[in-house]
Amino acid sequence: MDFRFDDDQELLQSTVRDFLQGEVTPEVIRASWETDTARSPELWKRLAEIGLPGLLLPEAHGGMGMSEEEMVLLLEEVGRAALAEPVIGTAAVAVPLLCDLGGSLADTWLPRIAAGECVVAVGHPVSPFVEDAHVADLLLLPAADGSLHAVPAAEAEVVAEPANDPSRRISKVRFDAGASTRVASGEEAAELLARTLDRGALACAAALIGVCDRTIELAAEYTRERKQFGKPIGSFQAVKHMLANVKVKLEYARPVVQRAAHSVAHGVALRSVHVSMAKLGAGEAATHGAKTALQAHGAIGYTWEQDLHLWMRRAWSLDRAWGRSSFHLGRVREALFEGDLAIGPGTTFAGA
């Protein structure tokens, strides 16, 4: 039992943090919002150079051969930077799904993903929309009968749905499900979709941790500088205490996310319950953090000009993505009240 990341993992995290701090400034994000796609193939290529898209891909296929444990550390940084590129959809969800599917589909697409040459979008019945379908070269989509399909971009009808977070581009996608696109059906497809949901929710949870961390930092910085009644507003207990409350929520969401990553990486039986606990906690911390940081900023935080909303919008959109809070709460509730989940002291790690 050692609930820590090792030095290599922490070094990887700080490398990615430094890279994103230098490259992905609020100005870069705002500039991307002004483009048609909000995506930068150049930046995606550079992220590939530090190994992000192919992180979960075995080294034999040109990837980094790492697991969800490293992935959550890096996604925390993605959240901290409010990075808009498709790390969650392509790197955390599509790559392991393609690995599961195997065959020529995997052989064709995985090396290209690792090289930063393409984007693969993944749909799931939990949402009516597909993120990054507008820039995807390949789409992995469920059909009404529960089967799973690999659809080349040219065969998909993608209708963009403008949404509140300009960084998260979502679309309605229609396609003709047929034998030529079908890659899995029946129980196999159901199992793949179940894993996909867990991976997507885990990835969002990890990014939400980073988002929340950054919003608290921004708010604390602002309250050090802004003066009213002749002193920094951060010296007032009413302001201190509301930010302290967010910090409590954050620090008790973080280990739940890290444990869920371990469970997904090791295929632990309670994986889905652990992921839902993580997504719920991280989503609540980040959305609570967003409105608290706004309150700490006051009117200036309510402007488009102030950068705070870059993270607020991330908090809201990631909280809803890959299963809203009530969905994940429901999954844990069912496990507690309708399943045979072992509970009580000494059961926390029994599934490991």
């Binding site: 039992m1 050692d2 609930f3 820590r4 990341f5 090792d6 444990e69 608290i216 604390a220 309250t223 050090r224 002193k231 920094p232 951060g234 010296s235 207990q237 302001v239 201190k240 205490h241 930010l243 302290a244 409350n245 910090k247 409590v248 620090e251 008790y252 969401a253 973080r254 280990p255 739940v256 890290q258 444990r259 371990h262 606990m277 719920l280 906690g281 709460l329 844990v332 509730r333 507690l336 009240f337 509970i343 009580g344 002291p345 000494g346 059961t347 926390t348 790690f349 490991a352």
Partner: protein, 385 residues
Amino acid sequence: MDLDYTDDQKAFRAEARRWLEANVPSEPLLSFDTAEGAKQHREWEARLNAGGWAMVPWPVEYGGRGADLLEWLIFEEEYYRAGAPKRINQNGIFLLGPTIMEYGTPEQKARFLPKMASSEEVWAQGWSEPNAGSDMANIQTTALREGDHYVVNGQKTWASRGAYADWLFGMFRTDPDSERHKGLTFILAPLDLPGITVRPIEQLDGLPGFAEVFFDDVRVPVEHRLGEEGQGWTVAMATAGFERGLMLRSPARFQHTAMRLVELARANEESALPAIRDEVTRCWIAAEAYALETHRTVSRILAGGKIGAEASLNKIFWSELDLRMHELALEILGDRGELLPEAPSAVGVGSWLDGYLFALSGPIYAGTNEIQRNIISERILGMPR
């Protein structure tokens, strides 16, 4: 990241489980805040100590079994799983003990720790004074050096376990010209010294869980000073860190309550409405989160790390969770939640009412949660004082 137990850890758990199953009293003991209950609890502690389980992380020579903090968490899990009695000497074993381990002389360790482990000597806390609650640096009780003794005058209050304890630890002002955090010294005093008057105070449950302690020219030998003269605040902060963190309130306690809450909701389907079940689920998740965060902290400590201001995060989290769980249980019980244990209809109501009254003290003791929020915002978030 390795989240599996080693074979040694599994064997340790099995050994603890076997002993507890064979030795935990089948009937619950009376409250340790009654004379008869205090006696029962001391007997239980003596038995625990004879089995070598009184304070497993302590070195063998002080009554422990040299276990590490992970084994401590395992032992706590088994202790709560077995439904074993509350620890009457928690002020001693969980708070003062680790502080003596850090600041005590070899003589003090040998003198105090074994009798603490066995609960031959039960400890009371002497922090608060009438004018020093949250503002603990405002301590006014003096301990003035006269030769080999400190002469103590003044008053402590809200001294937990004061009514039935043998010793008291606390901070006293040894430099009468000093102010605030300076000039304070950490002193241990037997409660039977001439000049000490203990006046028990009935708590919200009607029992004397704490006491006022008056000092009138009380002579305490200098060798009962813990740490250096004037170093009291630093020593006390170490004790407070243990209190807020994993010693006093290990996760098993709250996981056990969360489990009982889930079981209560399952057994009372008609009153555990969907909205309540959602809240129960959140509580269970929070108890797991507390366990996970504690294991993360312990892993860090075992690798040479320290706990700092983040102990304040713990304290807010567990105290609010404990209160929430008891509120929900009483909501599920409805009118029956009002019943005292002796009421004819008090069947299946458990100890939730009692637990609720105790949980209400959680956000107050060990430093109010408002003080913890100040610490978090100033020392972790870097906000101005």
